[in-house]
């Protein structure tokens, strides 16, 4: 293996890919534009719906089979437009009103039912507003009864409970974001490597440039290594850009939020230098694995289109283990550290949470290095197999 030849192939492929629209879109535009679009868009619609639900005057169909004093006034004070109805449930189902309230049962302890189409976010928020209004009414009635009986209100609070959060801020922010980033990292690594890998293998076959390269003094091992390094670069670049883009969009999202309180999705990314270096180190074998797998699979195809259909199932296969990081309570134990993709997405989560062990870290990195080496050997073998390379 000559480094100079590998470098030449690497630089040529980078130049070639930088002029390919599909690669630019998947590698640069997609993570840089799509991430802010998803997060800012989601944030915008979420906040807009919640704010609208807070301010909007919803209509309520009210049936008082059992009279409840102050009910109508309480709901009107809470900003609802109350309409008497014989069947509140049907009124909601027929969309005559947005909500329905039914008071029935004994006069001493009536039962209240709230009807709402819970598939609608706004109506859900409004349902919460009704509950608050009714709780206030309930509290007022209890206080009245206690006063009438000459009992102090303090009987209602014999003791107080306070939950104290002992988790450091990094752990709190990382709880959601760590789980999500582990999954996202895997997806973007695969996505970043996909188009370059296809273009450099099946694309090269389709354009009939492969023969020229193979008849040059460059060895097949050197050619495939140069190409794999390009796919690794693309894989890394895409995931790093996605993280940067995620960070920027989270900051923008926080600024855009009127209340100043970031919603859960928009928490800050907790990254100190040590965590960053550890994430970087653990990403290397994962990027090699993603890139070499893509190269090996795409080399088997004879055209760009065929390669896409070969590579797409790889995403489906990778999604499931990558999603393990999204599951609450799953920890990276030595057994898990040996499962590719699962180990990486969990390790990223735990690194961001600041709750990791050197054993799991070392096991995950080493096992992924072994998988990457196997994938690399497979890619070289595929590339050296002329029946695959010249499949017609």
């Amino acid at each position: 293996m000559r480094l100079q030849t590998i470098k030449l192939i690497y630089l040529k492929e980078i130049l070639d890919l930088m002029r390919d629209r599909r690669t630019i879109i998947s590698m640069l535009v997609f993570p840089l534009l799509l991430m802010p679009m998803i997060f800012l868009g989601l944030n915008y619609f979420l906040i807009r719906s919640i704010n609208r639900a807070k301010d909007k005057q919803f209509s309520i169909a009210l049936k008082q089979e059992t009279g409840l004093e102050g009910m109508t006034q309480s709901l009107e004070q809470a900003g609802f437009k109350v309409r008497p109805s014989e069947n509140p449930r049907r009124a909601v189902e027929n969309k005559e009103t947005e909500l329905g309230v039914d008071v029935s049962g004994e006069t001493n302890s009536p039962a209240i039912r709230i009807y709402a189409d819970q598939s609608q976010l706004e109506v859900n928020v409004a349902g919460g507003r009704i509950e608050t209004a009714l709780n206030q009414l309930k509290e007022a009635r209890i206080k009245n009864e206690l006063q009438r009986a000459g009992v102090s209100e303090r009987i209602l609070t014999p003791f107080t409970v306070e939950k104290v959060n002992t988790a450091p801020p990094q752990k709190m922010s990382g709880m959601f974001i760590g789980a999500f980033i582990g999954y996202m990292f895997v997806m973007f690594m695969l996505m970043g490597a996909m188009y370059p890998a296809i273009d450099m293998t099946a694309g090269e076959k389709e354009r009939r440039t492969m023969e020229m390269l193979l008849s040059s003094p460059a060895g097949r091992g050197e050619i495939v290594l140069g190409k794999i390094l390009v796919a690794i670069t693309a894989s890394f670049m895409t995931s790093v850009l996605a993280i940067i883009s995620f960070r920027v969009s989270s900051l923008l999202g926080m600024k855009a939020n009127r209340s100043g309180q970031p919603p859960q999705l928009m928490m800050e990314l907790p990254l100190d230098a040590k965590t960053f270096v550890l994430i970087f180190v653990s990403s290397i074998p994962m990027a090699i694995l993603a890139a070499t797998l893509m190269i090996a699979i795409a080399t088997m195809a004879k055209s760009y289109k065929e390669a896409q259909s070969y590579v797409t199932p790889l995403f489906l296969v990778a999604v499931i283990p990558a999603m393990v990081s999204l599951l609450p309570g799953v920890k990276l134990n030595p057994g898990m550290a040996l499962i590719p993709i699962v180990n990486f997405s969990l390790l990223i989560k735990e690194l961001i949470l600041g709750d990791w062990s050197w054993t799991s870290f070392t096991l995950s990195v080493l096992s992924n290095l072994v998988y990457a080496a196997i994938a690399f050997t497979a890619a070289v073998m595929v590339f050296k197999n002329e029946r695959i390379l010249f499949r017609t």
Binding site: L15, T209, E211, M212, S216, P217, A218, E386, R387, F390
Partner: protein, 251 residues
Amino acid sequence: MINVSDLTKFYQDKKRGKIVAVDHISFEANNGAIFGLLGPNGAGKTTTLRMLATILQPTEGTANIGGHDINKEAQQVRRKIGFLSGDMGLYHRLTPRELLRFFGRLNGLNGAALNQRIERLFELFDMRHFADSKIDTLSTGMRQKTAISRTIIHDPPILILDEPTSGLDVPTAHVVEGYIRDARVAGKCIVLSTHVMEEAEYLCDRIAVIYQGRIRALGTMDDLRSMTGKNRLREIFIELLGLNETTNNRG
């Protein structure tokens, strides 16, 4: 010099079974001479040239190219050859200058020597006006000039050319043929495959007619004439492939 000995290539096909692409062919091609491989589509010309260029591994037999065995010293062989495929094989997103620089460096050229060589080829094939345009914007003729320049960027002593004038207009084909003749004068060993009878007759010192993977006849034009009793290469070719009998039987 090229010395081909019992070169053979079999393929295994799931449906068709064993396919013999090239069947124990042997020939010699000398320095300062053009050796032509003539045959219909699927005769085994391209497979033969690909094996000589070490792109494909022979099933049996071997070839010695410039003193190196294609099975044992593939890399040394590739340093000595310039291979042009029928598809040109150009990176369409690069410019001719970038392409030549890349292949020049792969062949060990660098710095001033590489730049001088590139400029010389631009001059030789009148390429300056499109040297910095992307290849996908170039005409077929311009592309073929680029492909030929890429093949000879390292000035190899042996040229393996698969249908070098295929699809070219007459002026561009003339330029390419001119270069091949000049290369012969410069003492290079040239093996080319072609469909164009006139070209083979005009360029080649010796011709092998290949059909169904086997060499049916080999020699100079005069040798082929005396073998078949025909004068023109087209008639010789049809005679050697046995197509005359088919036509006569049908008639």
